[in-house]
Amino acid sequence: MLNSGISVLFEGINLQRLLIGLLATLRVALISVLISIILGIIIGIIRTSKNKLIQIPFRIYLELFRIIPILVWLFVIYYVIPANFDINLSSEVVALIVFSLWGTAEMSDIVRGAIISLPKHQMESSKALGLSPVQMYRFVLIPQAAKRSIPPMINLITRMIKTTALLTMIGVIEVIKVGQQIIEVNNLQYPTASFWIYGIIFFMYFCICFPLSRFSRKLEQKWAA
């Protein structure tokens, strides 16, 4: 009974459709990861400032994304903005907004943590050498901070890719949604389709995230020495 269900994957263009859905998932993840890396580095550097007026708002921004679940953020942006401000946002755009905001907040914390964990004399000696602030960041701080922040950044990217699974809840046509469509269409012919389709999606996510988390651990071990 269960064995016959797997052929649903090879029926028509089902597997192809799943892969196209996976591409939609990855597109959202990739774009928001790129945006969050760029903005995260900028905001992370800004957040190393000792000025309370700069620290506090960014801290609140970060904590908001840490305390409120991402799914709730997706719902808030998806339902509140169009209803109150007469702006039409497609669900994919909502996803990009939420993931970029979240990613930026977390990235900035990683970058900030990496910079302030550098020994103080690094900054002082570059000042003593007469480097300008831009030169100090470019040649002294960023290369060192990069080694400390890249492994956690890759971990965050893995987390963002995993969280894209939630996009199906606001109606983005991504891999899970496509899977559900396939299950519904084939329900009569293949009653066990859901076992196999969800199984294969499970496997797909694993295939993407496992190498990434492996890679980050390798880098961590390499750079720790």
Binding site: L2, I67, V72, I183, I201, C209
Partner: protein
């Protein structure tokens, strides 16, 4: 812009729904986290002592649980498994999913906590003739516990937030209740406002408590 008003009466009317949902969220999260701690402890001890075969099994489990989204794990449990003859209720699926995911995160935290206990501590313990069990009970666990508290509290908050994903499998927790109420009454602003407040009610005290706990157990650290 004029739509951005709040119907306070409506919010009072639906308050009982939110109360039930809040309670359910807390309950499921609490049970899930409790089991996750147990699973995490067992796995971390297995990994720490590098028990043959078992530690490989644990490694495979950790990789699978950490590299797949909870939503897919739940969908598989809730919609997929019944086709293989195993039917579980939604809440049970939620607890199993949370334990499966949380156990792997807890294991990681506990293991690194145990590895942070210095070798001299263990050697000293052995030198004064403690058995392995005593060594674990009196030397390693108390110190490892204090080392793993920051990671542990981050995990608790993470797992509590992950319960929002349960709305995908028809458990009436906070997020799903909100979705239903929005579907019935179309009071989007009010419902989502209550949802955010609901999470704040759970997470703010928890965050404060965990921060306090973190400071409190630091005393157990060697050298303080």
């Amino acid at each position: 812009m004029e739509n951005l008003t709040f119907d306070w009466q409506y919010m009072i009317d639906v308050l009982p729904h939110y109360k039930t949902a809040l309670w359910l969220t807390v309950k499921l999260a609490f049970i899930g986290i409790a089991f996750a701690i147990i699973v995490g402890l067992i796995c971390s001890v297995i990994q720490y002592f590098k028990i043959r075969v078992l530690s490989n099994v644990v490694q495979v489990y950790l990789e699978i649980a950490r590299n797949t989204p909870l939503l897919i794990q739940l969908f598989f449990l809730y919609y997929g498994l019944p086709k293989a003859g195993v039917t579980l209720s939604g809440e049970l699926c939620g607890i199993i999913g949370l334990t499966f995911l949380g156990g792997s995160y807890m294991a990681e935290v506990f293991r690194s906590g145990m590895e942070a206990v210095t070798k001299s501590q263990i050697e000293t313990g052995k030198a004064i003739g403690l058995s392995n069990l005593q060594l674990m009970r009196y030397v390693i666990i108390p110190q490892a516990f204090s080392y793993s508290i920051p990671g542990f509290s981050a995990n608790c908050i993470f797992l509590l937030k992950e319960t929002s994903v349960f709305s995908g499998i028809a458990i009436l927790e906070l997020t799903n209740t909100t979705k239903n109420l929005m579907g019935i009454f179309y009071k989007t602003n009010e419902a989502l406002f209550m949802l955010v407040i609901g999470y704040l009610i759970i997470l703010l005290p928890l965050t404060l408590f965990l921060t306090w706990l973190e400071r409190r157990v630091r005393h157990a650290e060697f050298g303080n």
